[in-house]
């Protein structure tokens, strides 16, 4: 009996497997289509466009590396934009990571009002970008803004011109962005709450102090989360668009100090209709993002600790 039923069983299994495959593809089909039409095809055509001159009105014209050559030799705006975005990322990413970890560590003690604090720090994340930018334009108004008033009340010095001053406009955007680190705080706090308590107890017995416990127990235990957050924050910073766009009325003023990379790209595409050039810029951005990610990834095996593997 057993001998005769074995092949039947195998046939049944085969049929189940085929069914699973069929349904797997059917259920995944929205995304498969989406990937092909909304990501795959655009990527391929974007590569092609980046080697062309293309104004939408006439057909794309092949110019080889012309766009890239122009970018690196003749385009001041490109250089400014690259510098501005790098400036923002270099200052904002470490500042946001250090301060959100510090706040999460403070919150992670069995402290009264923990959820209230968490809610308060998270609220700014909810403010839509346009409202956020307009609110901070007002807060940072050089004459009657709240920030400069507080600076005057506290130190009796005239605060900087912020968004009106090319030297202070990027610090202004950084300051404003630090107001919205709540998402990272929430993520770090949750990961801190996952660190097993007995690790701390073991540490306490050994007579370690507070800083040693953070340095050798806490931070290694959440390092994979820090790593993930570092990468997403970095990518977000390099692609910053809406806030500087609105704060600078779309053209990077004052003196192009707020011309961020994604803004310059947008302007090339939709103000000057240099579609090919914009695509070329997008690929340079992609390379920069990839390089930054890979560098982080390569350094990660030195500082990221994965529990159980």
């Amino acid at each position: 009996m057993a001998v005769t039923s074995a092949p039947k069983k195998r046939v049944r299994m085969k049929k189940l497997e085929r069914d699973d495959f069929m349904w797997g593809v059917i259920f995944a089909s929205p995304w498969i289509l989406g990937f092909l039409l909304l990501t795959g095809w655009p990527i391929v055509s974007s590569i092609y466009y980046s080697f062309t001159q293309y104004s939408v009105l006439s057909a794309p014209q092949w110019i080889g590396l012309g766009n890239f050559r122009e970018m690196f030799t003749a385009d001041d705006v490109f250089r400014r934009a690259l510098g501005n975005s790098a400036y923002f990322a270099v200052f904002f990413v470490p500042l946001s990571i250090v301060s959100s970890i510090a706040i999460a560590l403070l919150l992670n003690q069995k402290i009264r009002g923990q959820t209230i604090y968490r809610t308060i720090y998270f609220l700014p994340v909810l403010v839509p970008d346009v409202a956020l930018s307009i609110l901070w334009l007002w807060m940072l108004n050089p004459q009657v803004g709240l920030v400069n008033t507080i600076i005057w009340e506290l130190f009796h010095v005239q605060g900087p011109g912020w968004v009106a001053d090319p030297n202070w406009s990027k610090p202004a955007v950084i300051l404003m962005s630090l107001w919205t680190i709540g998402r990272s705080i929430v993520i770090y706090l949750a990961s801190l709450q996952d660190v097993p308590q007995d690790l701390y107890d073991a540490g306490a017995v050994d007579g370690t102090n507070w800083w040693q416990r953070i340095r050798h127990v806490t931070l290694p235990m959440i390092s994979s989360v820090i790593f993930f957050n570092l990468i997403t924050t970095m990518i977000g910073a390099l692609q910053m668009f809406t806030v500087p766009y609105i704060m600078s009325q779309g053209d990077g003023r004052p003196a192009q100090s707020l011309m961020f990379y994604a803004m310059a790209l947008y302007r090339n595409a939709f103000v000057y209709f240099k579609m090919g050039y914009a695509c070329a810029m997008a690929w340079i951005l992609f390379i920069i993002v990839m390089a930054a990610t890979l560098l982080t990834l390569r350094s990660s095996n030195r500082w990221v600790y994965y529990a159980g593997g």
Partner: protein
């Protein structure tokens, strides 16, 4: 001999007691110290909100008054109807809600289907597909921005809401990731039991998985709503007729035309922000869970 042993035990007990007391004091000090840092910080985080609301209730004179007016008096509620009249707020609200609402339907439908395939069906290719999906998160939007615009323009969709809505019906890597994470916590036995009963995947999906996944689906809907509500780049690129604008885009043009009417700009900003804050307070747990789920399991 017995005596010394006894006294040393006593001494040890005494020592432990002292240590404990010292630990308690230490802990108390640390709590006080933490509040001393957290409280002023919380105040700083609240301050811009307060400033937004208080400015929105000031008269023109109080906005620019020196020294600063902390408590507007009288409260000029008229700023709200004024700013509603200044830019067609109700029209833009309707537009935004329609775009966000249909996108939510699209995102919940498509992403739950895809996540079921990648999380609950065992088939060859699903791991590769998932990997590709995660990899697409690395691609900056700017890379596909221009070709997508050209495609939509060839379809005659530029100037309509379609480019803002239709893509949500094709799923997105972030949501697939989030939902798959959740689907995988559903015990396999439940799915296998369904199979043994002879149910095909559509029935298992609809009758077993979806009801269990309601909180996760809600999270996806919520996040999609927020994305659409606050989106600026999409409407900026695709909308040209001012009757089609969303609130975000409308507010930006309002600001460009009247950039010194701060009380009215702040009133409009409050109206753009408040619905989200209210939504947050009703859904706080789901919200925080969704964020930690996608932030932690990377």
């Amino acid at each position: 001999m017995e005596l010394t042993a006894n006294s040393s035990a006593e001494a040890r007990a005494d020592y432990i007691l002292k240590q404990e007391r010292r630990g308690k004091i230490k802990r108390l000090l640390r709590t006080v110290f933490s509040h001393l840092l957290l409280l002023p910080l919380a105040f700083l985080f609240i301050l811009p909100f307060y400033w937004m609301i208080s400015t929105s209730l000031k008269s023109d004179r109080q906005v620019f008054a020196w020294p600063l007016v902390w408590f507007p008096n009288p409260l000029v509620w008229q700023n709200y109807p004024d700013s509603i009249a200044f830019f067609p707020f109700w029209l833009y609200l309707r537009n935004t809600v329609f775009i966000a609402g249909t996108s939510v339907v699209g995102a919940v439908l498509s992403n739950s289907l895809v996540a079921y395939s990648l999380g609950c069906i065992r088939w060859k290719g699903r791991d590769i597909l998932f990997l590709i999906a995660v990899a697409t998160m690395m691609i900056p939007y700017q890379v596909v921005m221009v070709p997508l615009f050209i495609t939509f323009s060839n379809l005659g969709w530029v100037g309509t809401w379609l480019p803002l809505i239709v893509p949500s019906f094709f799923g997105g890597a972030f949501f697939i990731f989030l939902l798959r994470q959740f689907f995988r916590t559903i015990p396999n036995d439940l799915i296998d039991a369904g199979k043994i009963d002879g149910a095909a995947h559509p029935r298992i999906f609809a009758q077993i998985v979806l009801p269990l996944a309601r909180p996760a689906l809600f999270t996806v809907g919520l996040f999609q709503f927020l994305n659409s509500w606050g989106d600026f780049t999409g409407p900026l690129i695709y909308l040209s007729d001012s009757k089609m604008y969303t609130i975000s885009l409308g507010l930006q043009y309002f600001r460009l035309q009247h950039d010194t009417m701060w009380q009215k700009l702040m009133a409009a900003s409050v109206m753009l922000t408040l619905p989200i804050i209210i939504l947050f307070f009703f859904t706080q747990r789901t919200f925080i869970q969704g964020i930690t789920m996608t932030g932690l399991k990377g």
